[in-house]
Symmetry: D2
Subunit: 404 residues, 4 copies
Amino acid sequence: MDFAPDATTRDYTERARAFLVEHVLPAEPVLDEQLAATPDDWTVRPVVLELQEKARAQGLWNLFLPGRHPGHDGAGLTNLQYAPVAEITGWSPRLAPVAFNCAAPDTGNMEVLNDFGTPAQKERWLEPLLDARIRSAFCMTEPEVASSDATNIGTRIRRDGDHFVITGRKWWSTGAMNPDAAVFIVMGKTDPDAARHRQQSMILVPRDTAGVRIVRPLSVFGYDDRDHGGHAEVAFDEVRVPADNLIAGEGDGFAIAQARLGPGRIHHCMRALGMGERALALMIERASSRQAFGRTLAEQGVVREWIAEARIQLEALRLLVLKTAWLMDTVGNKHAMTEIQAIKIAVPRAVQQIIDRAIQLHGGAGVSSDTPLAELYAGIRSLRIADGPDEVHLASLGRAQLRG
Amino acid sequence: MDFAPDATTRDYTERARAFLVEHVLPAEPVLDEQLAATPDDWTVRPVVLELQEKARAQGLWNLFLPGRHPGHDGAGLTNLQYAPVAEITGWSPRLAPVAFNCAAPDTGNMEVLNDFGTPAQKERWLEPLLDARIRSAFCMTEPEVASSDATNIGTRIRRDGDHFVITGRKWWSTGAMNPDAAVFIVMGKTDPDAARHRQQSMILVPRDTAGVRIVRPLSVFGYDDRDHGGHAEVAFDEVRVPADNLIAGEGDGFAIAQARLGPGRIHHCMRALGMGERALALMIERASSRQAFGRTLAEQGVVREWIAEARIQLEALRLLVLKTAWLMDTVGNKHAMTEIQAIKIAVPRAVQQIIDRAIQLHGGAGVSSDTPLAELYAGIRSLRIADGPDEVHLASLGRAQLRG
Amino acid sequence: MDFAPDATTRDYTERARAFLVEHVLPAEPVLDEQLAATPDDWTVRPVVLELQEKARAQGLWNLFLPGRHPGHDGAGLTNLQYAPVAEITGWSPRLAPVAFNCAAPDTGNMEVLNDFGTPAQKERWLEPLLDARIRSAFCMTEPEVASSDATNIGTRIRRDGDHFVITGRKWWSTGAMNPDAAVFIVMGKTDPDAARHRQQSMILVPRDTAGVRIVRPLSVFGYDDRDHGGHAEVAFDEVRVPADNLIAGEGDGFAIAQARLGPGRIHHCMRALGMGERALALMIERASSRQAFGRTLAEQGVVREWIAEARIQLEALRLLVLKTAWLMDTVGNKHAMTEIQAIKIAVPRAVQQIIDRAIQLHGGAGVSSDTPLAELYAGIRSLRIADGPDEVHLASLGRAQLRG
Amino acid sequence: MDFAPDATTRDYTERARAFLVEHVLPAEPVLDEQLAATPDDWTVRPVVLELQEKARAQGLWNLFLPGRHPGHDGAGLTNLQYAPVAEITGWSPRLAPVAFNCAAPDTGNMEVLNDFGTPAQKERWLEPLLDARIRSAFCMTEPEVASSDATNIGTRIRRDGDHFVITGRKWWSTGAMNPDAAVFIVMGKTDPDAARHRQQSMILVPRDTAGVRIVRPLSVFGYDDRDHGGHAEVAFDEVRVPADNLIAGEGDGFAIAQARLGPGRIHHCMRALGMGERALALMIERASSRQAFGRTLAEQGVVREWIAEARIQLEALRLLVLKTAWLMDTVGNKHAMTEIQAIKIAVPRAVQQIIDRAIQLHGGAGVSSDTPLAELYAGIRSLRIADGPDEVHLASLGRAQLRG
């Protein structure tokens, strides 16, 4: 349980921080301009491509993928090593993760292909994803049902000779509005009569397959997240793909989803800590500089308490994230289940409060686009819903405690 | 302290509710379509004009203005009578208040003109506002300073013969993006050396005066509130208006602002209760209909607690709002100061939590535009900042308790 | 829905307040001395008897009993009239309620006898209770089961000719340690096979009946509440009483309990408001007078916020209590069920926080017996458990909302 | 930053846990009996002396003292090694710490003597304390002033030839009611005109010195903590002691206090985690076994959420405590100031909520003495006041963040 950063971690962290300060933060207003100039465009903007080029040149690329991957650019970091680097990317979640090719949902999709893909699947989809030549989407959640209960999944994947035929409707397919998202990993039921967690399978669906229809973009508190390729509702109407597109075997979908979600959750939490740190930094700056009634905000009312509580929360939760990463590295994701759930619940909740208080301290600037706070808020708020609402995880963690 | 609705109140409330159900709620998707069809338009949309016509025909018009106003359409309701009507408009804050010509900031501006305007000012500006022929903005908050401290106001109103010359910068001028907002009420300092609360004055500035420049729209979370005429940053650069445009006397600005803010705050609170009721209604509907893990959400975890707590909060705070209205009607706004502050703090805070929980219960639909919840959240969250952040009011109310 | 105090209410309230200030508050240290002098005594102390004599002489007696009761000293107040009087008694809950013969559980027991008792039962037990010649206990909660679910009740009341025979074990029988508590109202099952809410009956058990055994006193935090007759665990071992001791009919126990609990709950809430007001008054005094780091506590950190929030909560919840009282008076206790549950949940919760913050502001004096705060805390904390824990009421209220 | 327990830690932890289960928990009811049998006795009870003998025989003795102490029984553990052992003692705070001779305030007093005492002072006082032959008290807090501001200290220590003369009044002198508390460490001002933090000194005052008067015991939520020697108010009236009784030099009192408080705070936090774990264990047991409305409590409402949140809080805060211990061991107490403040604020707050919820889940048993919960609550609640209220630490930590 040694959480001290080793030499590799320190090296990557320092370089990532330098990159953030030197390249990413100054690129934020540039991104805003480029987005404003092309309101109907869902592709990655030029400023992002430039950042990717610079980051890759510095070896800040595909850092999320644990273990060595010969022939790729991955750094082979452990989760514990990756954690502080990912945290730094959370300071600028619209730019830094994608700059390092470490942005969801591509990261999770690459992990799935890396862990469960056939050589042919890897060659066709993993390679270009690792190169950021294409992007991808993950189609799991459905509009009509509580998707946190996997037995509710309504999408059907029907075998038809050498093909599978997919019919269903998904939403919150992040990135799917981007026409460069060339492939979708779709979860559906191959056997509704199988055991509870053997009904589902995952399959690769190229975007341009007949029957795939992007229905509409979804917004998050008014934000369309165009820079990330948005969030799409996607209809699959008798979509036919070769049987080889299945990932692993029939009935493996739930297990793959679980395998994917562990790292996905901890990555979100790592970045969330960075979001919280940025909000705290903004809070401190504001409290020190803003005057009202003859004194700085720092000298008034609850402000110092807010700052202190933010610092305490971030310190305690960072340690819990590091312990979780260390457990995943040493005993495996399965045995880190309780800790993964714990941070999935606790980190977004705490960071949401920190950002909310930072907004309050900034007044009108806090809810507007003059600070990153309102958009950070929308992001962190959604995390408490995405991939299972807090309440499902709380109940599950509580049940586990009751059992043993 | 009799809060029971009298016959007039019951009549207006029933008619307002019927109007909401019959006309306003069905108009919501129509508004969305019209907004989507004309993304760069800041004027009132056709569907709103149609609603206004219908509402006015039914006498649901200018209900906010207390007392009788011969020659106008006003209903002459007391604050206590208006409260439940305003609450109903809160169910659909984008449409219902404006349909009844009861939307901020026009209501506050009409009150100022009604209470402090000269006959000429009334004829020129109040009449068309009561008719909804024009709209208006209120320019008080400034970007560079903590505007909750009125001594911080940087805008200057300088006498120059028969004119005043205004220079300064305002933001969060709600409605000002709408080109039909024909007049701005601007607060600035006429005498920075006067006593603390005699430095400020208010003046009428026609939109088309030379030197008035709409700098940019502001967003609230990701919403630009185009249907309300948005929120503008406005620059005043040596803007010259006749001395007759001054409202009341030099140095009266702070007092007028205070007079304006009392009713403004209670109207916000009344509507906020309606927002909370709608969120609760949506929560109940969702909890009853949505299934997960074999049971409805209502049968699981914290959901019933959330619903119960929402009901309790709304009941208690409604009574406090009614008492405040009754005090304003009977002893005057000044003597209802503590209660006005109390509801300004407590109502948005409680309703924010209710809406947030409703969002949580709706999952992805909650943060998107598929329910009104996320936009309601953005609105209520801003209320905790607008017109003085909670903390300023808490400290002030606390001081008052400590004094007496 | 007129909550304004009428002349009767104002008169009683003013006299009760004067009595509190003049007689009750000065008696608090006297009670402490008398308690310290006789540590093993559970009877009412002399100072209480003196207060009762004075209060009765002033007509401040049996105020809790709604409606006129010819021949008794009752004031015949409505719930709405009684509310502010009861609130005043909450300032000194150890002395003021009992001084006015308005203390639980005798109040509830008198109500039961008044509403459901036979003339003989009234003569034998109600008369001396109204005179405070005896005291009583209510034996409902049982140690082995969750008593908020009435079907769990384990005590059996078996018919045997002209007698009933009672066997079971009760606890939290408040007042029962006092040897002057001459009669116990005991709830038990006469027919375990009847419909869910027809299994239970209530019966009068004189303290000195064979088989009644006071097992032990219970403490609340570290307090034994000796001044109130404590809280007893009581064993009933084949206790035989005449059949005439049954209150109303067999199977009526649940209905009587419900009828008793409504007024009991609102009385608790009224007094709780007074406890909150006293804590707030102490907070204000302390914040104004205590110096640290060169300034009074009032000028630092969160103190003003705490005071403001306490004031807001007390104002809003008082209105909800008044509305509940008004509903009970006008449409009956049954139709005020939601409101009774609402205040049962909300008032103790809010007052607990106020008292807790007052403790915090008083430091060491707050947790000790140098202020009444710690003992007030113990009392209010228990209220969130007594007569159904918050969670049972929240779930029930939530279900009611979901139904309608 | 390696928090994994080493072999020594594992060994002590396992033996401490075994001792807790085998000897301490069964001794709890015995202690209650012995306390009940001798209500006016403030000395250590026989059951404690027996536990001490057993523990000492097993080498579970003086574990709190960091580093080796030749000739003593101390284990020479680091803070990091001691942490999990101390946590275990928190499961039974009335018995386990004192059984291991690791109970406050003796621990802090022994540290002061060990770090700052002269050989003569050590021989006279430290030796018998390490042997548990005597006990001691720490007299710092004063009743009249906010003692968190050390400049408020009113006690005077005046030089008079070869003696110092002490006059003042202290309270919350824990343990001082015990006649075996043979020595008091008293903080007072030797030079009120010196620099802010050089005014204070500490001096050893034997209990039997003329002028020392135990004024009265103080209670905490009704508990007198007799088993710990209670909490005394102590008057010092011209108390004359030899000049050699001064600890370190004149003006060193504040520095010694700070040195003493760091370890004291972390020890409290370690034990608090154990208190939280015990409450959680009780909550789990209750939730699994108690039935209401046809299901266990675990299957209803918010119970699972409470259990999950308790687990998450305890995990995160334990890591923060371990990090703090590690910092104290590696960079020194001074450089761990922020972390010490963080845990001083966060741990009692979280554990208080856990215990409160455990109380709620236990209903009447929770507030009574049938579970240890109410007494645990009183203890943890006081911790948020003792040694500086939360608010002082929050403001201080916030200021530190604002500075750098």
